[in-house]
Every structure is written in structure tokens, then in C-alpha cells.
């Protein structure tokens, strides 16, 4: 029994259900912490959970693939959740139609700013050309951004990491920034968050209101299309 006790950790570490429980537990804890520190923008449940889990994996020398054998059960639900965004979108359909022209103009403008600022800043700070390319579509949702970078010969797994960081950064800072800019319309706040910070920004916008969430989902979906169009176009013009 004692001998088996020493093997317990090695046994648990291999169990998918252990990492599934760890993910849910860490998320519960992070949400609690975020609620307690109300008003502090950096206390975002997604960002905190990722940070804590990365530290756990790092210090227990657990391979990401082992962690993902449990995490995949949560990850899978992203696909039906994306489909589910159609419901709030439909419920806001009237408002969206009345704002269609401003939304489309903002989409083109915002998508260009997102790509341009990412390329400009990373170049200025001395990133390698392949990193600059991999950073360019970072505001688009992960599968789209990765597809674009793969086609143009960048590092798509780096893109995946950067896309997540962009989402977390937006979720942490956008509500605070928008308050400072005195932007109160839920539709405007949501659309900007979804456009720049895709699904993670959309999840954050849903915490503000259903209307903000619906417009964020719209911004995310439209910017996925716009980025897929613009990045290859700009790449062939400038590179």
C-alpha cells in the first residue's frame, strides 16, 4: 500500500479525468479570484486559468499532449458553442440591420488597423520576418488565423499561441479602455471586442450584456472573413 502511494502521482498524472478536473477546478478558482478583485482588469478568469495551468504543467513536467487528453473534452465544446452564437445574433438581427453600414465600415477599418499595427509594431521591435507574418492575422479566430499563416508559409503553431494571447489581452484590457474612452453603447463595445479579440473577447462581452455579446459574435465572425481576405492581399503587395 505504501509503495503504491508513491506511485500515485505518476498514476494520476496519466489520467485524462485528472486534467479535466484540474481545468474545471482552476477555472472555478480563477473565477472566484476575479470576482473578489472586482474592478482590477488583469484578473481575467481565462488568463488566470491559463497561467496557473501552464505553471502546473511546467513544474510537474507534464507534456501538453498528456494534459490535452483531458482538456480535449472541454476544447471540443468550442465547435458547437460557435454554432450557438447564431441564436443571440438572430435575436439582435433588427438592431444589426439598422446599423449595417457603420458595422461594415468599422469592420474594414478595424481589420486593417489590427493587421497593420501588429505588423508595424513587431517589425519595429525587430521580430524575424516569419514571426511578423505569423503575428499578422492575430485578431482572427484561431483556426482561420492558422490557416492563413500556413498558406503563406509562416509558423502556424506560433500563430495559435499569439491568437490566444490577443484574446486574453483584449478580454483583460478592453472593458477598462472603453470605459476610459467613455464608450457606453453595448453594441459598440461588443463589436470592437469581438473584432479584435475574437472568441475570448466575445466571452468577455457576454459578461457585460447579451447585446454586447451578440455584437461581439458578429465582429468575430466578420473579422474572420475580412482577415482571410486582407492578409494574403497585403502580403502579396508588400512582401
Amino acid at each position: 500500500m505504501i509503495a503504491r502511494l508513491f506511485g500515485l502521482w505518476a498514476h494520476l498524472q496519466e489520467l485524462p479525468v485528472f486534467w479535466l478536473a484540474a481545468t474545471l477546478g482552476v477555472f472555478q478558482f480563477s473565477s472566484w479570484l476575479a470576482r473578489r478583485s472586482k474592478g482590477f482588469p488583469l484578473a481575467n478568469p481565462v488568463g488566470l486559468s491559463i497561467l496557473i495551468l501552464v505553471l502546473i504543467l511546467y513544474f510537474t513536467h507534464t507534456a501538453y499532449s498528456v494534459y490535452f487528453s483531458g482538456g480535449q473534452w472541454i476544447n471540443f465544446l468550442l465547435a458547437p458553442a460557435t454554432v450557438a452564437l447564431a441564436v443571440p445574433l438572430y435575436q439582435q438581427y433588427g438592431r444589426i440591420r439598422s446599423m449595417l453600414l457603420p458595422l461594415v465600415m468599422t469592420l474594414v477599418f478595424g481589420s486593417l488597423v489590427a493587421i497593420g499595427s501588429s505588423v508595424g509594431i513587431s517589425q519595429l521591435l525587430g521580430a524575424s520576418p516569419s514571426s511578423v507574418l505569423s503575428l499578422a492575422p492575430k485578431s482572427a479566430t484561431a483556426p482561420v488565423a492558422m490557416g492563413i499563416v500556413e498558406k503563406l508559409g509562416g509558423i502556424s503553431s506560433l500563430t495559435a499561441a499569439v491568437v490566444i494571447l490577443t484574446g486574453v489581452t483584449g478580454a483583460m484590457t478592453a472593458p477598462w479602455l472603453l470605459d476610459r474612452l467613455n464608450i457606453q453603447r453595448p453594441a459598440v463595445r461588443g463589436f470592437a471586442m469581438g473584432l479584435v479579440s475574437h472568441g475570448i473577447g466575445t466571452a468577455r462581452a457576454f459578461q457585460e450584456s447579451a447585446e454586447a455579446g451578440a455584437f461581439a459574435g458578429l465582429g468575430m465572425g466578420l473579422n474572420a472573413l475580412m482577415t482571410a481576405l486582407l492578409v494574403p492581399l497585403l502580403y502579396h503587395w508588400f512582401a
Binding site: P45, I50, A81, L85, G110, I121, K138, T173
Partner: protein, 116 residues
């Protein structure tokens, strides 16, 4: 609730089938979302209760769903350590700038329309 979840899965599958058949450069869930939206618009009625329940049920936990993929950042710690000023600068600077400019742009536009 279960019927609603089945609905979501069916539209996800439909999106996948179309992406596969036409070799589209889009993720299947995004197309599935567009198809569900088109179907709801075509019906021109309230969202079925089952679907509404399943949708709000899963969207309530949307932020949790990104955590396992996000932990994948661990695979890139080396490159992040190597090029961190450029990557962090582009991510943080680019995100703040894009959120601010797009929100100001749209806000100005909407405000002007409401005044008119």
C-alpha cells in the same frame, strides 16, 4: 435542452460537409453558425425553446472553453522567450490600439446617425 444540443451538432456537421465538399478556407463551426443564422432568418419566428436553452447554456461557459487551447502556449515558451519584446509589443500595443480605434470609429458613426 438535449434536442437543442443535437440541433447545434447537426448544424456543425452540415457546416463540415459544405466545407469539405467545396474545399472552403473557413472553419466548419463558423459556417455552421452562418447556416443556423440563415435557417432562423428563413423561419422568421422566435427561436425554438430547446435551441435557446442549449445555446444560452453553452454560451454561459464560453470563456472556460478556451482554456485547454490556451494552455498550448506552453509549447512556444522558447520562442516567446527569444522574441518576447516584439511579440508582447505587437500583442498588447496592437490590441489596445485596434480596440480603441474601432470603437471610436463605430461610436462616432452611430452617434451621428442618432443625432440626425
Amino acid at each position: 435542452m438535449l434536442k437543442g444540443f443535437l440541433f447545434l451538432l447537426l448544424f456543425l456537421l452540415a457546416g463540415d460537409v459544405v466545407v469539405y465538399l467545396f474545399a472552403l478556407p473557413l472553419p466548419a463551426p463558423v459556417l455552421g453558425m452562418a447556416m443556423l443564422l440563415a435557417w432562423l432568418g428563413w423561419r422568421r419566428a422566435d427561436v425554438p425553446l430547446d435551441l435557446e436553452e442549449a445555446s444560452s447554456g453553452i454560451l454561459k461557459y464560453l470563456s472556460l472553453l478556451f482554456v485547454p487551447a490556451g494552455v498550448g502556449v506552453i509549447l512556444h515558451l522558447q520562442r516567446l522567450a527569444h522574441e518576447w519584446p516584439a511579440i508582447v509589443g505587437a500583442v498588447v500595443g496592437g490590441t489596445l490600439l485596434s480596440v480603441a480605434l474601432s470603437a471610436l470609429f463605430l461610436n462616432r458613426f452611430v452617434h451621428r446617425r442618432e443625432v440626425q
